[in-house]
Symmetry: C2
Subunit: 448 residues, 2 copies
């Protein structure tokens, strides 16, 4: 579809930018109206691309967008999943350009959502448009775009169970992940699950003068640090009893397969500007993010954080903690286990509250499946190299739910790159990947 | 001076409130003009109270106020020290009334600075005014009020060394501390020193997606928690090598003296709304705050702290940490020792920067001194009970400096109470203590 892209490039940019300009941050209430605007704009674009019908459907949370083109019920059906919500943009001061005013610099689009996931779902709209306009479409195609992926998709599972018929298909096609590099295309054959909790430690019921009370009254920040520090050991292992019970150890053969993915540790460290990596003893960096669980503090706050020095013994301390899980770990079970462990081991001199945020299970995709093979052929044709099967470290909890509810396997054709720094300031998406992604997706339909 | 107070009460309130209404927060640049306004207002009040002269003097930082009345160079001279700066007011939402619009509720003045230290220094102004107006003054009196006590008095020491003559006196009289209770007056015969540092831990040079990197890249918040947790052990002891080298163990006799101070642990816990106290093994609560050093995290921040759940592996984590020291511990030496220890033990996979804020040494006051005895008589007359010698857990680093520079012992006649919650929301000062304080100070001049 190279020619088609060349001929329509400027319009493609206008359309994608119209999506990127809408600050659809799902975690912030003040953006509710933007969520609706973004959903309506997507439905518009679906119709313009050639869908028979497309609409915005309410859920308990942010609306979902559903559209479809049915050629012939007898033909195989592809269900495209994507999400139009984005992560918050803070710290805003680190953005080189307005996160919601897309800008093209050195061959990449810079904006929140440029990759995750507005840029990647847009590739599916345009590949679909190309197939329709050129009369090459040989499948029924359905699109489901949600607005709550970044907050754990609290509503889509329920909506999906109520609309199984509408969503029936043969494969769930998703572009919401990364590939190893432009020179090393890869296809995700597994994703990690997620458990996300928030801890609140309360000491005295008021902030205290640290001179008058320091040494005699437990400081909730010190206690929170002790708790967090106790959750992992020096070997990078999580110390919560039972945490690894359901973790499946990979066979040496599977580990060899994963190791085929070329990886340059020095490049990796240089890209992150770190002297050393750190992770679970006995595993490689790729394995640490691909096939092993982990625990990260995503945010912490308490006491005086302004300029200068305030001598206060604060009343409260807070932390947000997420754990990445591997396939076969049950996120509900883990979340419950961790909350209980922290509550049970809390010292008597403080009050500790632990509340679960959201979670989701990891999953695996059989390399032998038709969909995987079609994607592999397609990407090999575009990139000139056979894609490597890889394990994604991230989580798309809702895909495990859809797999369960609809009984359809997802396929993760992701075209993002490490350099895109999604979820961070200056998120970007390479134009080369945007266009190669469109071509690959168009070819997927050819080989599927 | 009871009658005098009765006759002038309303004016006293107007004058004190005019000071409390000025938001003289020394740690925030935007309040610089308020600092000057507050200093000028104080100089005004000094003259109205009967000082021969009073003025505002510039320093490298916020100005100092100096005033005096010299009756006869041959007479003993009392140097009154106080500070007109206050702590920040956050968290503002916890204040029941505007921190800078004083309000009288249930017999107490509520405002930032009501006690610390505008309320307490005001007692000296009015006791002085009473002695002058009633012709009872028998001493030369000098007043030095600084605007940087809450940020560690970075400028006063230098100003004092340049103005030794001006400040020459026989005793430094200070009301900037608490007494045990209204029923148990006490006089501070020692204060703790302070060492205050700030830590910054940097991991990757950008925020990362916790799914793509979690498990392989050190998380600066987790590392910061490990560092903080490692600074103290389960017995509440500070683990930094050499930290206790200069700590003088009190004799059993001295510990018995301190134990004379009545203390109700249940009341204490009820006041703080905690189930249990926590501190260094082998010491009582009073000893833990009076004669033992401690380490408290005063503030911590890093990563995503907004509503909802952001799955980020942040680039930075920060903490403000203060240590209370005991007499004979050198705050410069300790600060250097702690900064070095943290830097030296920092793991290779992150960058750790430690910067000292401010500090100061603790000090002791001989109970046998004339000044202590005069204060004891005065307070016994007002409260009907002999005051207990106590150790203050807080720090007034500048007093150790003035003691060294001017060669004058300070005397701490503090009238604050625990209930005043200084440095916290809803700081207050009991009217009964305000007035009893004035009477006690007036009597101090009688017996000194």
């Amino acid at each position: 579809m190279k020619k088609y892209i060349e001929a329509n490039k400027e319009r493609f940019f206008d359309e994608l930018f119209s999506l990127l300009r809408i600050p659809s941050v799902s975690s912030a209430d003040e953006h509710k109206p933007d969520m609706v605007r973004c959903a309506e704009r997507l439905a518009e674009l679906l119709k313009e691309a050639g869908a028979d019908s497309a609409g915005v459907f309410p859920t308990k949370g942010h609306p979902v967008v559903f559209g479809r083109k049915i050629l012939d019920p007898a033909l195989p059906t592809v269900l495209v999943y994507g999400h139009y919500d984005v992560q918050p943009v803070d710290p805003l001061e680190l953005w080189k350009s307005d996160p919601f005013e897309p800008e093209i610099r050195d061959g990449a689009i810079y904006a929140r959502g440029a990759n995750d996931d507005k840029g990647q779902l847009f590739m599916h709209l345009k590949a679909f448009e190309y197939l329709v306009k050129e009369g090459r479409l040989r499948h029924n195609v359905k699109f489901i775009f949600e607005g709550e992926e970044e907050i754990g998709s609290p509503s889509l599972a329920e909506w999906a169970s109520e609309n199984k018929e509408l969503l029936s298909a043969d494969v769930i096609l998703v572009s919401d992940t990364t590939m190893i590099s432009e020179r090393v295309p890869s296809i995700n054959c597994g994703m990690r699950g997620l458990s996300y909790i928030e801890i609140k430690v309360t000491g005295p019921d008021k902030d205290l003068h640290s001179g008058h009370y320091g040494g005699a009254v437990a400081n909730p920040i010190n206690v929170l640090c002790d708790i967090i520090s106790s959750l992992t050991d020096n070997d990078g292992k999580i110390t919560i009893p039972g945490f690894y019970d359901d973790v499946v150890e990979l066979s040496d053969e599977d580990r060899k397969k994963l190791a085929r993915a070329p990886f340059d540790l020095d490049e990796y460290k240089k890209f992150l500007n770190i002297n050393e990596v750190k992770g679970e003893k006995g595993y490689t960096t790729i394995e640490r993010t691909g096939i092993r669980p982990c625990l990260d503090v995503n945010g912490i706050w308490g006491g005086f954080t302004g300029e200068g020095a305030k001598t206060v013994l604060p009343s409260e301390a807070h932390a947000k903690i997420s754990m990445r899980l591997v396939p076969n770990q049950d996120s509900r079970k883990i979340t419950e286990m961790v909350c209980r462990h922290i509550a049970d081991t809390a010292p008597e001199y403080v009050r500790v509250e632990v509340k679960p945020h959201h979670g989701g299970d990891g999953f695996l995709i059989p390399i032998s499946s038709d969909a995987y093979q079609a994607a592999s052929k397609a990407m090999q044709e575009v990139y000139g190299i056979e894609p490597v099967p890889s394990r994604g470290g991230g989580s798309i909890p809702v895909l495990a739910d859809l797999q369960r509810i609809l009984g359809i396997d997802p396929l993760l054709m992701g075209f993002g790159l490490e350099r895109d720094t999604i979820h961070s300031p200056n998120e970007s998406y390479l134009l080369s990947q945007l266009f190669k992604g469109m071509e690959s997706i168009a070819l997927f339909y050819k080989y599927y």
